[in-house]
C-alpha cells in the first residue's frame, strides 16, 4: 500500500504525460467527429438517395467493425500503402473515423427531430435548400444535440485507451510502464493498485461528462421545444 502510493508520487510526471496524451487524443477526435459528423449527418438528410446510402454505408461500417480492428488496420495497413503513420496520428485517425460515424448519427437525429412543417414553411417562403439548413435546421439541431455530443465525448475519452495497444504513451500505457518498471527493478508487482488508480481517474473524468450530458438533456426537456437527441449508448457503439 505504502509502496503503491510512493510509486504514484514518484511517477507523477509520467502519469501527467500520459494524461496529456489521452486528453489531446480526445480533443482531436472530438473536433474531427464534430466537423465530419455535422457534414455527414447533414448529408444523411438530403433528398438524393445515393448520397444517403453512401453515408449510411459509412456509418454502419465504422460502427460495426470493432474499433480496435479499425485502429490496427490503419496502423499496420498504412505502411503497406506507402504512408507509414506514427502511433498518435494513426490512433487519432482511427478514433476520428469511428467518432464521425457516431457524430453523424447524432446530427441526423437532431435534424430529423425538427418538425417537417418548418421545412415546408421555409420552402413556401422561397428559401434555398442550403439556406433552410443554415437558418432553420442547424441552429435548432445544435441545441438538441449538445447533450448527445457530451455523452459521445465520454465514450471518446474511454476509447483513447486503445492507443496503448499500438504504442501511444497515453494514460493506460503510462500506467503499464510504471508497473513494468517496478516489477523488473524492485520485484514488486503493483498492477492491482496502478490499474485501479487508472480506472478511478477515467471514472472521474467520464462520470463528470456523463452527468453533464444528463443535466443538459433534462434542461432541454424543461425548456420545451424539440427533445434532446439521446447520447449514444456505450453498449451500442
Amino acid at each position: 500500500m505504502i509502496h503503491d502510493l510512493s510509486l504514484l508520487v514518484e511517477n507523477w510526471p509520467l502519469l501527467l504525460i500520459g494524461l496529456r496524451a489521452t486528453l489531446s487524443l480526445a480533443a482531436v477526435t472530438l473536433l474531427a467527429s464534430t466537423v465530419f459528423g455535422v457534414l455527414l449527418g447533414t448529408l444523411a438528410t438530403v433528398r438524393a438517395r445515393p448520397v444517403r446510402w453512401l453515408v449510411a454505408f459509412y456509418v454502419e461500417t465504422f460502427r460495426d467493425i470493432p474499433l480496435i480492428v479499425t485502429i490496427f488496420t490503419i496502423f499496420f495497413g498504412a505502411p503497406f500503402l506507402g504512408v507509414p503513420l506514427q502511433p498518435f496520428p494513426a490512433v487519432a485517425l482511427g478514433l476520428s473515423l469511428w467518432g464521425a460515424a457516431n457524430g453523424a448519427e447524432i446530427v441526423r437525429g437532431g435534424i430529423q427531430s425538427i418538425p417537417k412543417g418548418q421545412i415546408e414553411a421555409a420552402t413556401a417562403l422561397g428559401l434555398h435548400a442550403w439556406k433552410i439548413y443554415l437558418l432553420v435546421l442547424w441552429p435548432q439541431a445544435l441545441r438538441v444535440l449538445l447533450p448527445a455530443f457530451t455523452g459521445l465525448l465520454a465514450l471518446i475519452v474511454q476509447s483513447t485507451s486503445l492507443g496503448a495497444l499500438v504504442g501511444v504513451t497515453e494514460f493506460l500505457k503510462a500506467g503499464g510502464l510504471i508497473i513494468e518498471r517496478s516489477t523488473v527493478m524492485q520485484g514488486i508487482n503493483p498492477a492491482f493498485a496502478i490499474y485501479g488508480f487508472i480506472l478511478l481517474v477515467y471514472f472521474s473524468i467520464c462520470s463528470v461528462l456523463t452527468a453533464l450530458s444528463r443535466r443538459l438533456e433534462r434542461r432541454l426537456a424543461t425548456q420545451g421545444g424539440a427533445r434532446a437527441v439521446h447520447a449514444p449508448d456505450p453498449s451500442s457503439v
Binding site: F80, L162, T210, D233
Partner: protein, 220 residues
Amino acid sequence: MEFDLDYLVQQLPALRAGLLLTMQVSAIAILLSVVVGLLGASARVLRLPLLSPLIAAYVEFIRNTPLLVQLFFIFFGLPSFGLTLSLFWSGVLALTLWAGAFQVENVRGGLAAVSPGLGEAARALGLTRWQYLRLVGLPLAVRSGLPAMLNTGVSLVKNSAYVSAIGLQDLAGVAFDRIASDFRAFEMLAVLLVGYLALVLSLSAAVRLLEHRLQAPFRR
C-alpha cells in the same frame, strides 16, 4: 505487395480456430451477462438494502471506465491480489461484467415498461414481490427489453476483440499475430473486416427477425 490467396488459404485453420474462440467467449459472456442483468435489475427494482445501491454504483462504474482498462485490471491486477484467472476466463469475466451492467439497465427498462396495473393485480392476488417479479414482471420485461438486450450482445461480440490485447488467440488475436510475424497485413485485415462484419450483421439480422416475431401478437 499484393493480395495472396494461397497464403490466406494456408492460414484458414488458425483463423477458424480464432473465430471459434471469439464465438465461444462471446456466447458464454452473453449468457452470463443476461444472468447478471436479471439478478441485478431484480435487486434494483425490489430496492434490496445494500445490494441495490451497490449495483447502481457498479453500473455507473462500468459505464464510465474503458473496457480495456477493466480487462487489464482483471488480468494483470487481480493476481497480485491473490486471484488468478486463466486468459480465457479473464476475458469472459471482463466481458460479462461489462455487458452485465448494460443488461441490468436493459432489464430495468423492460420492467419499467410493464404496466403498473399488473403489479396491482398481482398484489391483489396475494403474490409476494418476488413472485410478481418471477412470474409476471421479468417474463414481460425480457420480452419488451429483448431487442436492447440483444443489441448489447452484438456489442459484446464486437468488443470481444479486446481480449486479443491480453494475448488470447481469438479471431483478432490470430490475425494480429500473423500480421506481426508474416508482414501480411492485407490478407489478415480483409479477414478481420469480413469476419466481424459477418458476425455483427448476422446477429443484428437475428435481432430484427426476433423483434418482428415478438411484435406478432400486436400486429394485424
